[in-house]
């Protein structure tokens, strides 16, 4: 049964009367409904945040693995550079600089694609430029950090060992 009070200020009185007369009746008011809905939204937000953290961590591990493989494949090239006089610092700097350029280009491209998807391919227009811009530096920093370990690792190999790498 659904009750619609004629006046809003009667709501509380009607609820109290019903509770008194029918204590075993399961009574649900719009306050309870909205509180439950709020709880549901909060739970959903928490789940989305947890998924975002897991996805970000997964992406970071993936980027780190890709960096390790990509940089390792260039061992010989780095060996040649070291042999002709590049220092450890130059090798690390050039690798990180390259990662910076690639991650910035990737972030911009990703931002554009997600902007288009949010604007034109969703049921509602969810496009929010600030939201996209705010995550760009995070992805750039994350990618650069993922490249630090492989860059340091490879710069420490003796040039002669790098040159022998096939």
């Amino acid at each position: 049964m659904i009750l619609f009070p004629e006046r809003v200020d009667w709501k509380q009185r009607i609820v109290e009367d019903i509770k008194q007369k029918y204590p075993k009746l399961n009574l649900i008011t719009d306050d309870i409904i909205s509180r439950n809905a709020e709880k549901g939204i909060k739970l959903f937000e928490q789940m989305v945040n947890a998924i975002s953290v897991v996805v970000t961590l997964g992406a970071a591990i993936l980027i780190l693995t890709v960096m390790l493989i990509t940089i390792k494949e260039r061992t010989k090239e780095i060996g040649v550079l070291r042999a002709i006089g590049a220092s450890n610092t130059i090798v690390i700097k050039s690798i990180l600089w390259e990662i910076f350029i690639l991650s910035t280009a990737g972030s911009i491209l990703g931002g554009i694609i997600s902007g288009i998807v949010l604007r034109y391919f969703m049921l509602e227009n969810l496009f929010d430029l600030w939201h996209i811009l705010k995550y760009m530096p995070l992805s750039i920093v994350l990618t650069i950090l993922s490249g630090v370990i492989p860059a340091i690792k490879i710069s420490r190999i003796l040039p002669v060992e790098s040159l022998r790498y096939e």
């Binding site: 040649v80 070291r82 042999a83 002709i84 006089g85 220092s87 040039p159 002669v160």
Partner: protein, 225 residues
């Protein structure tokens, strides 16, 4: 004449899995400045190991390497890098040019590494490419060049910073006889005109015979000089 390199009782070992391979077993040699020398010997005799130690890209297990009066044994990696950057030019059998850079950009790399500006480096690189008769191929990528042309680019890369020593590891190994002889003549010309010491590793006697001095290696020791 002064010696540019003096090597005393140099030993080098490698691990091949769990087996120890003695690449050099007490090498003693002295190389005069401005000489054109060849190190010859069969595969596995230690030629490249010796060249790598002279070029500061590897360190000996024992012994002394004195380059232009400085003992390399006590130097840090940073100081060895500085010597490589300023004093030594490397030429490899496989050319080892950067495929995404043009000939002139490849030649400019060593100049950039010693802190020269991009414009000056490219200008100097184009001059040196002229010296190795490759001005017309300056803006070509390595995959657009023949083997001989690639090696001439590699030579230009080695001489652009005017090093006192050029080390060539089998510089004609991937070239036909005629092109190979052309490359050696070019190296000889640089040695005579620029007063640069050249040490090359080869197993080709015909090419070695064009040198001022030949060191023959066998099983990690010099058997003839």
């Amino acid at each position: 004449m002064n010696s540019i390199i003096s090597i005393k009782n140099v030993k080098k070992q490698y691990y091949l899995g769990k087996t120890i391979v003695e690449a050099l077993r007490g090498i003693n040699l002295e190389i005069e400045a401005e000489f054109y020398c060849s190190i010859i010997g069969p595969s596995g005799s230690g030629k490249s190991s010796l060249l790598n130690i002279i070029g500061c890209i590897d360190v000996p297990l024992e012994g002394e390497v004195i380059f232009e009066g400085r003992n390399l044994a006590g130097l840090s990696e940073k100081e060895l890098t500085r010597i490589r950057a300023e004093k030594i030019g490397f030429i490899f059998q496989n050319f080892n040019l950067n495929p995404i850079l043009t000939a002139v950009e490849n030649v400019a790399i060593p100049m950039r590494l010693i802190g020269e500006r991009k414009k000056t480096s490219l200008q100097k690189a184009s001059e040196v490419l002229g010296q190795v008769r490759l001005s017309h191929r300056m803006n070509h990528y390595p995959n657009e060049l023949s083997g001989g042309e690639r090696q001439r680019v590699a030579i230009a890369r080695a001489i652009v910073k005017k090093p006192s020593l050029i080390l060539a590891d089998e510089p004609t190994g991937n070239l036909d006889t005629k092109t190979g002889l052309g490359i050696i003549r070019l190296l000889r010309e640089i040695n005579e005109k620029e007063d640069t010491t050249v040490i090359q590793v080869t197993h080709d006697l015909e090419i070695a015979n064009l040198s001022d001095k030949i060191f023959r290696l066998r099983d990690g020791v010099i058997v003839d000089r």
